[in-house]
Amino acid sequence: MSKRLLNALEYPEADKLNLNDENAFRNVIVWLELNRIKKAPQSLSNQLKNTNSKDWYTIYCKYKDGLGCPVLESKIEELQWILGYAVQIETQKNKNLYFKHAVENLQNTNVPAVVAENLLDKLDFRSQEFADGIKALAKVLNTVTHPDPLVTLKAVRKVIIQRMSPDCVENPDKYVLKGTPFPFQDTDLGFDLNDPVLNQAAKILRMIYIQNLRDLQTRANELIVAVQSVTANPKTDTKLGKVGF
């Protein structure tokens, strides 16, 4: 197993190695640190390089503890752990390369390679550039901006999800609700906050609440209809055009 990992890490002539040989072991550790892991401070790595030193084992212990290696039974097991650590570092380094070959991405090799890394992770949400970009996006979508660009982004996202899907762009009638106007400004709020601005805000909250409630009720109705298609007495189907039984 260790040999395969060493092979993977491109250790020269890994197959011929005898890891029980103290010298070989020391050389492997030094090679791993210098070429793959590269975590030890300069002084420690210099001391480690001196494989013939009497204190080498003490230095090695210091080194592996520094990497966070747990207490293990034998040196071979410790080597195993360090190898795993090195592989992890290598994999991390070439993450994108491996993702390209991941199972889910292999299936659609015909489509352009997906960039798995989330570009947004690297964005500075507080930068002026970001704020300006969001503002411009909001303007294109006719969305009111909020001082906090992240809030604006949320609103923009909503607009895009609700109105920009391909189906929605093709059949807007299916998605754009055609309500009849209602003079909600004249309606009774049910309470008075003694401040016209606050009252106005409360009214808008009421409207949003009512819309959410409507959505919920519509979904409840859809659920009932779905259940009805299973439970209903077939004779009640109005399409039969028969009155009564």
């Binding site: 209602f182 009512i210 409630l213 009720q217 409840a220 009805q228 439970t231 009155v243 039984f245």
Partner: protein, 506 residues
Amino acid sequence: MVVRQYAQELEYLERLTPHSWRIKKGFQPNMNVEGIFYVNQTLEKLMFDELRNACRPGMVGGFLPGVKQIANVAALPGIVGKSVGLPDVHSGYGFAIGNMAAFDIDNPDSIVSPGGVGFDINCGVRLLRTNLMLEDVLPVKEQLAQSLFDHIPVGVGSKGIIPMNAKDLEEALEMGMDWSLREGYIWAEDKEHCEEYGRMLNADPSKVSLRAKKRGLPQLGTLGAGNHYAEIQVVEEIFDKWAASKMGIEEQGQICVMIHSGSRGFGHQVATDALVQMEKAMKRDNIETNDRQLACARISSQEGQDYLKSMAAAANFAWVNRSSMTFLSRQAFAKKFGMAPDDLDMHVIYDVSHNIAKVEEHIVDGKPKTLLVHRKGSTRAFPPHHPLIPVDYQLTGQPVLIGGTMGTCSYVLTGTEQGMLETFGSTCHGAGRALSRAKSRRNLDYTEVLRKMEYMGISIRVASPKLVMEEAPESYKNVTDVVNTCHAAGISKKAIKLRPIAVIKG
């Protein structure tokens, strides 16, 4: 009971506003709270005439006058706020019809009374809209009326045409309109636009007597007799354009269908069974009332709980009943016009209950309280933004459907904040009787009544024509007076006026 002269009685009544009167404590013995009733000048005269007649020497028997009944209810244990008489109030069994009373659930003495709900449990009104106009319907009016009459079973002892067995009934009693939905008779939106979403969750069919179930089974999906009807109506006037548009009523001349029905023999048997139990409970718990007809039991007692559970089952029965008739009406229209009910836009605008007791939250003396609200001949009328009304009516307030009498108009009102404060969110339910059934039969001739309908251009189909004079407009108070009083008093607001063009009756 004290016997007083009419003039002495009047000392206990005091005008509060041009449209309301206070009934002071002492008008009847042991009143816990005051009474209030809403009237305009015309209705006021009727109320006081009734009281004067009752004060004449030798007037015994029959129901007490409405004002006295309101006061007797004010003497029941646990009542809070006021005993409220709505403009259509008239004498009934124990409670006046058009009387609303709320009892504090947290008070161990509070009672529930079947007389405060009425015998026709969850009698109510449902209004369907259509996208048809008067000119679409006029040419086929007669056939349409006949078609409705053919499909909706009417009359005393009529039987339903939607097949039901005993198991179906048990399920329907428990599930209410959810049963109709499950079976596919109605649409999901119907449930949305119904008080309580068409199902009282505390219903327990096991608390209902076998006798009630036997009476109920064949009657499910039937209109019944008495004041029940199905009407094809036309929008005559729109008072509140925005509220009307929320209900899908856009202009004058639009056609609607109104169904007024209840829980038939089933509810009657549930109430009768409960009254027997309650008389025993009253003796055991030493509950005193001014009138034997006000039989009641503590809410927390076994009898009280059993009644509430069986009443809920009867309420569910009524909703299934109105739903079945909704299905039949939709089919009748679909057949006549060769279009699917969906394409005719035959949605339920709303469905109200005007004989029911419900647990509700209200503010009493500035504190939130859980109350058992009895509405007998009184309709719930919740204001805008109330959580228990459908989302579509959050801005307008709950639609309140006021069925007129045969041949007169009907109204749609909306609930108001003022009504919530003054009458626990309650308003009138209809015209309210002015003449007793017997008196109507004596004074009116049925052929005359039918001829008058014809003259007014109303197609009429009646199962038992000889009972028609009981329901003639002359036997009732003027529904417009009643509605205008509610509007003027601010306890509800006028939205739409409807006029019948065809009537189907028991």
